[in-house]
Amino acid sequence: MDGLQVSTAVVDDARSVVSLSGELDMATADLLWAELEPVLQPGRTVVLDCARLEFMDSTGMRVLLRASRRADEVGGAFQMTAVPPPVERVLALAGVTSEIPRG
């Protein structure tokens, strides 16, 4: 129950869904980046399914911002979906709610 589980599904040429469950914190943020980085490609939309994400801190949030920036840079897209209230709250408290589009 501790820790973060990440599973990546390639839907088609233009779309991947990365699903999280567990806790995205300072101990697991690097793991998420290691999973996201390879799929953030030109022309590809990466959707982060947060439905089962139970906890996120500012370190985890920074990975999302970095993913969003990388997607912009390479000409891809990064979106979040099914964002639970505690995760929305971190984005709001950090003032970055609008920086990551919702899919």
């Binding site: 806790e23 801190d57 971190v90």
Partner: protein, 151 residues
């Protein structure tokens, strides 16, 4: 192992002093873990138990967990306090209407990044917040109040 009383206070978003006259705490709860990011989940869990004792609402408990996590981050993450000690010391003082949490570690002279996301998120979550560095110990102190304290 000696943790000095903090004196240098650089941030506080509430007027009332920590551990003031309003209510005596019993023995504190202390959780001492290796100064390593992978132990922060354990510290969050201890905070949840104590928040539940205080009668925090679900929203307040969620905020307490996040606040304690961010406080630990100020001692464990690059760009924050420059922790040199092998241990992270967490102290929880329970009062009828609030929980006071102190996270500390041996460190070289340094300060947290008060312009960073960590400090800013943390500030928004708690009723009092301060950091200090003294005699080789870095510390972050926060207070979380129960709006509808049951005990």
């Amino acid at each position: 192992m000696a943790e000095p009383v903090p004196q240098q206070m650089t941030a506080s978003n509430s007027g009332e002093a920590t551990g003031g006259p309003a209510g005596l705490a019993g023995s504190p709860v202390r959780v001492i873990v290796p100064a390593d990011k992978t132990y922060v989940a354990l510290v969050r869990s201890a905070a949840s138990h104590l928040g539940a004792r205080l009668g925090l609402t679900m929203q307040e408990l969620t905020d307490l967990r996040l606040a304690v996590d961010e406080a630990c981050g100020l001692l464990l993450l690059p760009g924050e306090f420059d922790t040199t000690g092998a241990e992270l010391h967490c102290r929880f003082d329970e009062y009828p209407d609030r929980l006071a949490v102190t996270v500390s570690a041996e460190a070289s002279e340094s300060a947290p990044d008060v312009d960073g996301f960590g400090w800013n998120v943390l500030s928004a979550l708690v009723d009092e917040l301060r950091w200090s560095y003294q005699d080789g110990w870095a510390r972050v102190e926060l207070v979380k109040r129960a709006t509808a304290a049951e005990r």
